[in-house]
Symmetry: D2
Subunit: 426 residues, 4 copies
């Protein structure tokens, strides 16, 4: 994810506005404006005030903005008397008494964000601010409090039903295409010519979700290659010299890159919905497609292996240890696939989920761990994260529900027989 | 507001789908599906389930649907143990402890509606269902409980920042124009030819708000006549024979009709924002415009007068009483304006707000009660509601904030000197 | 075709512009302006002059406009000396010498129309003017001269490659839909509700051609009913109570109405292209469609029969004569189909083409005369023109080329065996 | 103008179609197809044939294509007997007899191009083919013959009334923006970042004309800088570091680059119309703009000076000669402006028009030669063509008509007093 592009972009755009000597109010004054907004009963006046607050916040330094937000998190409270009264009336199992508590206990910070969002264009600005906050205060407890309000509201506003999927092509505006270049997080887009082949070649597709209140900001996008066979390495897919395939004769659709664009929407997931809708769209356009797979990185592999070796992790067999030493010494190794299979199927978080975040995402969507490819990504990043190993996850619509169920309830990693036997060999 | 057009429209459209012998699950089964949706952890599976629930609900009779919703209102509770724990941790003035209660006390009905709204197109369907519920159960306490959840979510989803204002013209689709005809609530549009003059004549404008998730459903619209002078009666405005004015020479913009379109959005107000934005838009297009007024009905006048006479209301002078007797006997009366001024400025609700709902709306927006016109609306409806009296409210952008403030804080009805002296004459 | 809608529409719209006392130049002055336009070498000045001439022409009475155009037709000549020189250089079979003559002999009227057409929006205005001229002077020889220039240019400007086919639906603007109602020439559209079922019912389609310089003026449109079987009468197709068919299960597409919209484009044919493209479009959307037919009127039948009886036409057998007497006496008659078959297959123009204009159009397109239906159109118009007889022409893409060829070269009316045996029975 | 981009682009796109072994018919066969198209009476069959011919022509080598076109130019003749008869009927001053000759003398090549243009998308393909022909056969007499037909038809099809002006921004599709980069002919656009500042900076504008049958092919475009003062050099305008100006405070609009995009439209002029419409558009958006000038190259200056020196041209004074020697020796010279003034105002073609093509274009549009700037274009191209001299032409709407008139009738170069006195100093 790019470093807070959206906010800096907004800041650059608004930079000119207040230039002419207008002073930005101090932090205490901004907090007073926020209180006034909460008290305002005229919607029109409220709208004007909300606009001013957003402008002020964007013109503050990051430090000042953090301070203001923390203050809001900690001090924009509730009416204690009303809340006490609601609690006193509570009768367990009477929903309406809980509902009264719910509304009485809503912190004003939540209503404040809701009122700021009334300003046309505010949604993108609030997303950008949350992104910068997450960046600046990753571990602050107060920030985590406030973030509950942001997440709660963003989950509601960025509901699937409001999103629009658009195919990105060479007919798309430069404004959006430029953002695609910036936001690509997996396999860097090196410029407009590289972008051209990813969106305009007949055997390539790029789809994104947009929210109507942020019409030129992609939220997430996925890149697809239509191919003859399940691919085993990324360079042939990214190559600009490759033979272009007639998409009407393709048999496989490969999802080779998924990028979240907005740091400020962390925790609001769209990827699963996007993949499902792209599968539907592709099946409609190319009924002959039979196989839907990913070609995915294994971002946690190498660091896990390093720790496992240091910690003498019992998952590692003695062969594994020997293999790892070779790898760390820089020699290629035939044992790489076996080791990756072990990692992907057996390395778990405390809650039982797969340790690898990409594995966890696709398994959680109901995909199956299909194939493991050493020598699949020779890029510096690929070598650095996983000695170049990549993986196919298979989306088989007949089995997605059962796979998801198995993974969700029992954390069973569903894998193909080939991967299973790799993983089990010691 | 039309009788639940949207829902019946939806029902008509979906009627075909389930025809082929498929049975609609019984109410208990639908409730089970709702519980399953709340428990579902796969987003994709959840989406499918949500779609099924919406389909079921729309195929139910109104009675069954009411029963299901009431059951949801009363039984989709909270985790009592968790709520108890949160309450036990509560420290007044510590916001984060209130926040914990807030989230713990959220009734599952709210989350259920949020999950149903993930289905593309669901928003319009939920709005339609709420409209039918409000209609069917106007006084049910359980329904009022559930309605708190609907209102809370709709307020968030239909935030000003998400709405799009569009001018409606003869270039607009028939689909939307047909709805404008249906939804006009003040001065009936008698057909396409009548509509044509309201949207296509150069001295007429019609603006509406839309939500991106309901792109062909207007939420509210306002009709504007550009005129030479402040109008004193509605027939010349609606007349199809009138001389058309060159809008570039108009001096006055008259808002002569405002209609809310969606019963299911009752309590979510857009009117004030719409008027303000239309004023901005008109000023941009016609900088020579100086005066922005309404020509508004006085819907509560006649029924108030009747009651006041019966109850011997002290607001009535003996002259007023004599006047009223004449009016009830059917004779026209010169005293009508004075009586209307008394009603509009002095008849109040218990909270001090103006009794007349239209007056309360415009005064609440910061408008000034400008002129009273007897003989302004000879239609059956106009005579029936107010003996034909209509009123101009003036939107003077310089004074809106102060007017609003005075009305909001002291319930002062701001009126022109002419209206004030009428009201004070006994 | 409607009575010069487009011109009166234009005139109405421009009516206001010149009102304030500005005098319209007299005819001689307008002719001088036309000469000045031809002499003008500044393109910008020429554009201004062209605009003025168009404005003047539209503000003239029809009589004055006719006079001006006739004057142009007869007097806007060529450079006789240059033409003489070109002729003197002519060598048969040397193309370039003919080309020199061609350009030297171009009448200035043609260049004048070309220069008028440079004004944005002029194309629609010129089409409207030609329509009015054709109406006013159907038999004037001078007008026919000028009309060669119009036709020559319009054929070039309204080339198939410039036209855009659009589906008309309920999402189309009221402005265009209103014109569809006006322009329907075969089966009157009685209002918006009737229009709704023709464009919005799932088993109905309406397609039109547009020219980019006249974006809200349909040029020609065709209406299609998707049906179970080849229809034998028009009332079930136009009925508003009919059972709506799921279009995905339709087997037959019936073209039941084709209307040319612009009188000013008479002689520029689009119908054949439109039908072909609609067939392609429907096959793409509904691959299961097998049969493409028309349900067409027989407009010349009754007047031909009347004349044939009076003239003792040898085509008529004695049975036919007896039949015709019955029909003229108002009794229904079993012999109607046979008589219609005779008319359609054997009544010819002097050049051998089918006498019936609708038959000539579809046979010229390569369709086959498939079925004859008495009692198919009980409307006043249907009875008046053909005692209610209607006909199916079949468009069988495999045979269109051969059918066209046979009709074009030998004037063979290609008919189904059933129609042939009807026609041959005496 | 780029090297036949459009055709090679088309060829690339169609490259795949015929690959699978299908043979391209030989030249004689293509000529037979052209004859068949002219003879075809079925429009549908004609359309298919026209499409095939276009496909064939595009798959031919340039040499073969040339041969086919020359053959068409020389052999697609007229009906000599009909033409003879028309000539025999001719009476000078009787327009209709000339009209008969005109139609009889139309070479079939013209009708052939017209029929090819019926194919949707054909216009762009024909434009590309003409471009390649002009390139390949710049001096062939036969080609000049054929080109008369192309020009005649293109003048009619690319009439001002059919063109659409669009502003190009960062919201425009990459497909069109990429062509802007390719087609810029005056000051090279070095990449997407350079393009961004030319179309997206608030004080820059780029406008283009498009034809509806070629919706993604710009025909001509002009670039505008909004500035404080009339600029005297190009580097500050192209600089990416410059201070951006608030366009609402700009006083001058400078047209700093005009590029024709389609070699195949040579001789069909749009530039004058485009400048006029851009002036109108800018005045509407920024009423405070007072001055509209160009900053133009002087492409013929240096080569003229060289020839003049060699030929001992009497326009040159002895000072001029001394100056020129210095310049050719590479030393800068104070006399440059004087010399350029002499060139621009006094160097003429045989018909009296200004020798410099850019001067001739702007003077012909009615602009005035306003200022001469040495050291205005230090690029290699600028030095190479004119020792870095650039010129402002002033578009003063009050005087355009008179200026044009003076230049068109008397070839008077209208220049400011400053330029005049420079030019007259010997």
């Amino acid at each position: 994810m790019p470093e807070t592009n959206l906010l800096s972009d907004i800041l650059r755009r608004v930079a000119g506005r207040g230039r002419t000597g207008s002073l930005v109010p101090d932090n205490a004054e901004v907090l007073r404006m926020c209180r006034a907004l909460l008290a305002e009963r005229s919607e029109a006046a409220g709208l004007g005030l909300a606009r001013q607050i957003l402008d002020c916040l964007e013109r503050k330094t990051q430090e000042d903005r953090n301070e203001i937000f923390l203050s809001i998190a900690l001090n924009f409270g509730v009416d204690d008397i009303a809340l006490r009264a609601a609690i006193d009336q509570w009768e367990p199992s009477k929903v309406h008494t809980a509902r009264t508590i719910h509304f009485a206990a809503e912190p004003q910070s939540q209503e404040l964000i809701r009122r700021l969002n009334k300003v046309p264009g505010a949604t993108a600005r609030l997303v950008a601010m949350r992104g910068a906050l997450l960046d600046a205060l990753p571990n602050s407890a107060a920030m985590k409090e406030l973030d509950q309000d942001f997440r709660h509201l963003f989950r509601s506003w960025f509901t699937r039903g409001f999103l629009e999927m658009r195919r990105i092509t060479w007919m798309t505006s430069a404004e959006i295409l430029e953002k695609i270049i910036d936001y690509e997080a997996v396999h860097e887009i090196t410029g407009w010519a590289d972008l051209h082949q990813r969106v305009a070649d007949p055997d390539r597709r790029l789809f994104a979700f947009f929210h109507p209140a942020m019409p030129s900001e992609p939220l997430i996008f996925v890149q697809v290659a239509l191919t003859d066979a399940v691919p085993s390495a990324i360079p042939p897919i990214l190559s600009r010299d490759r033979e272009v395939l007639d998409p009407a004769s393709a048999k496989v659709a490969t999802f080779y890159s998924i990028s979240n664009c907005q740091k400020g929407l962390r925790g609001i997931s769209f990827g699963n919905f996007l993949i499902k809708q792209v599968v539907t769209e592709l099946q409609r356009e190319f009924p002959q497609l039979r196989t839907f797979v990913t070609l995915s990185p294994v971002p946690g592999f190498r660091s896990w292996a390093q720790r496992a070796l240091e910690d003498d992790d019992p998952l590692l067999s003695s062969d594994d240890r020997a293999c790892l030493k070779q790898l760390h010494a820089g020699s290629p190794s035939a044992c790489l696939a076996k080791l990756a299979a072990r990692y992907l199927t057996q390395a778990k978080r405390t809650n039982g989920a797969a340790l690898d975040p990409v594995a966890n995402f696709h398994l959680g969507n109901g995909a199956l761990l299909y194939k493991i490819h050493p020598d699949a990504d020779p890029s510096q990043r690929g070598i650095g994260a996983s000695w170049g190993v990549m993986v196919n996850y298979l989306y088989d619509s007949e089995k997605i529900a059962a796979n998801h169920q198995a993974y969700a309830s029992r954390q069973s990693v569903i894998a193909s027989p080939a991967v299973r036997s790799l993983a089990e060999a010691r």
